[in-house]
Amino acid sequence: MIPFDATLTAEAADLLNREAYLLDRRQWDDWIALYAEDAVYWAPAFASDDEMTDDPDNDVSLLYMDRNGLEARIFRIESGDSYASDPLPWTAHLVTNILVTDIRGDQIDVSASWLVHSFKRIYGSIQRGGLYDYTLRREAAGLRIARKKIMVFDDRITGPLDIYNI
């Protein structure tokens, strides 16, 4: 792990907080604008009680998407035609323990812990949590998300699991 860099840490934390804000306020277009054109969005599945999948080409993931996949998720939500997404649960993302773990050229690796509280009448309140591993990249427009790996620690999933509640 690299030594503490106050400016970089603040910059990374701001981006992560911004993402949580835009998801919880359902500002989908601004949310997706945080992602680089070639971004990878990945939530592995459990391979056993002790490990998660690590090879998206040969293992099954919960989600493994490029930016078009993320766009399609927004399309699905906004269509109003998905039984599970209408009404959409209310969500509150808690993103914490934000730590810059590495700098590689213009790429910055950031780790965080997350908890999402969500509410939908049929399920009541649901808590889910896990870890985030981000790779951020400095682009002309500012810091962008080049890769986000979401480890979801809940393996008995109640209700839909989608971009808005992990």
Binding site: S48, N68, A72, Y83, A84, I157, P160
Partner: protein, 447 residues
């Protein structure tokens, strides 16, 4: 007519009162209270789950000696473990000493199962290999009288890689239980001469609805164009913006264009049901490139089914083998009248090409996980159906396309050379459900 049977908690349950089946009058109705009634649920655990063959796992998940897989049949924790002799055996997951569960993981490897409570040990053949402190703690006679081995479940058998277990000595053979669904299981099992394997990465999810709604939904072709319209339009949008082509494209004709392709539903008797449809573009099918290889091993009719059709194979009472855009094993377990636990795995031909494998996995993630573009919508539909069933006094009439149902096989079934009880040309029919509910009633009424 008095046909009262008792659920485990003693509440009266009259199974026949839930089904109004009068073939002569063209009536098949189900009383909706069948989903939420606790007395029905208790009786089902006994008479359905306690007596029939239940799917446990796929052989590829327990390949080495000591590999085990733990689950439940009804309320009973059980596990399957492969012995040193290579044979899989099934046991109640309960220590011979005072009943503690022995497995601590859903799957793993253990040549010796050590009970964490007082330390008794068992080998993969179920024999007790250590009673800790037993020489001092028991007299020789007391020890000889103790039953120290693990209790095997009544039956364990494998059909084409699919491992089934049962808790009833009188269950009969697995082959007889599967009956005419076997040739359809073959369509999933015979996709590669090297066999099939379950891929790494699985998921368990919960549904706030009765388990029978998942069995119905597995064969329900009628909901596909409504519930999964969003799946099809979302993928259409994604493919348009990404310019997807070839194998990466998902075949959606079966959802949006059903009237231009062949489809059908079969009642296979024994509670088993089929629903199939032609692939509008078989070239996008995972098996397209293996066609010539498959023709070396199977009849032309069977290869036509393997490559050019997709099917959902619903095995009584709680297993779905789904071969549409990708391949899925799904099994569900009743926890309460309104709570069901569902497991899902991706099954793939061993040795398939890297591009095919990648496409299969991505399409699996698109449809079959609780994080997919389809399963959450199915779950919401079933939860809505369960909640609405509590409205009371309601009956559901399974009448859709009853007038087109014919006795015996249709042309497609004849191509495969299979025996079916009734066929219906068109996937949007409710007549396959007769198989499930007639078998349900037959079993529920058996003392």
């Amino acid at each position: 007519m008095e046909k009262k049977t008792l659920g485990a908690k003693g509440a009266a349950c009259d199974p026949a009162s839930y089904i109004d089946d009068r073939p002569g009058d063209g009536v098949f109705r189900l009383r909706r209270a069948v989903y939420g009634d606790p007395a029905v649920f208790e009786a089902e655990l006994d008479r359905i789950f306690g007596r029939c063959w239940n799917y446990i796992c796929h052989e590829s998940q327990i390949t080495a000696p000591g590999d085990y897989f733990a689950t439940r049949i009804g309320r009973h924790p059980i596990f399957v473990i492969r012995g040193d002799d290579g044979a899989p055996r099934g046991f109640y997951d309960s220590c011979a000493h005072r009943g503690t569960r022995l497995t601590r993981r859903r799957k793993g490897n253990a040549r010796t199962l050590t009970c964490r409570y007082h330390g008794w040990c068992f080998n993969a053949e179920g024999r007790c290999t250590l009673v800790r402190g037993g020489d001092e703690g028991y007299t020789r006679e007391a020890m000889a009288a103790l039953d120290t081995d693990l209790r095997p479940i009544a039956g364990l058998d494998v059909y084409k890689g699919f491992v089934f277990g049962c808790l009833d000595d009188a269950a009969g053979s697995l082959g007889d239980f599967l009956g005419d669904v076997r040739p359809f299981i073959d369509l999933i099992a015979d996709q590669s001469p090297q066999g099939m394997e379950v891929l790494r990465g699985d998921s368990t999810y919960m549904m706030k609805a009765n388990w029978k709604l998942q069995t119905e939904n597995s064969t329900d072709g009628y909901h596909v164009a409504s519930v999964h319209r969003n799946f099809a339009t979302t993928l259409g949008y994604r493919e348009q913006i990404s310019g997807a082509d070839g194998m990466a494209k998902t075949e959606a004709s079966r959802i949006l264009d059903l009237h231009n392709i062949g489809s059908g539903g079969y009642d296979l008797a024994g509670g088993h049901m089929i629903n199939w449809s032609d692939r509008g573009n078989p070239r996008a099918a995972p098996l397209w490139d293996s066609r010539d290889e498959l023709l070396k091993h199977h009849s032309e009719g069977k290869v036509r089914w393997l490559v050019e059709r997709g099917q959902t194979v619903t095995v009584f009472p709680n297993l779905l083998l789904n071969d549409v855009a990708s391949t899925c094993i799904r099994q569900w377990r009743p926890l309460a009248p309104d709570l069901t636990e569902i497991d899902t795995w991706c099954l793939a031909p061993i040795g398939e090409g890297a591009e095919q494998r990648r496409a299969r996995i991505r399409k699996y993630e698109d449809f079959f996980f609780p994080s997919s573009l389809a399963v959450p919508d199915d779950v919401s539909a079933m939860e809505g159906a369960h909640d609405g069933s509590l409205a009371g006094g309601g009956w559901s009439e399974f009448a859709l396309s009853r007038h087109t149902m014919i006795d015996g096989p249709d042309d497609a079934a004849r191509e495969l050379g299979v025996n079916v009880r009734t066929s219906n040309p068109g996937r949007e029919s409710e007549t396959p459900f007769y198989s499930f509910y007639r078998e349900w009633l037959r079993r529920m009424e058996r003392p």
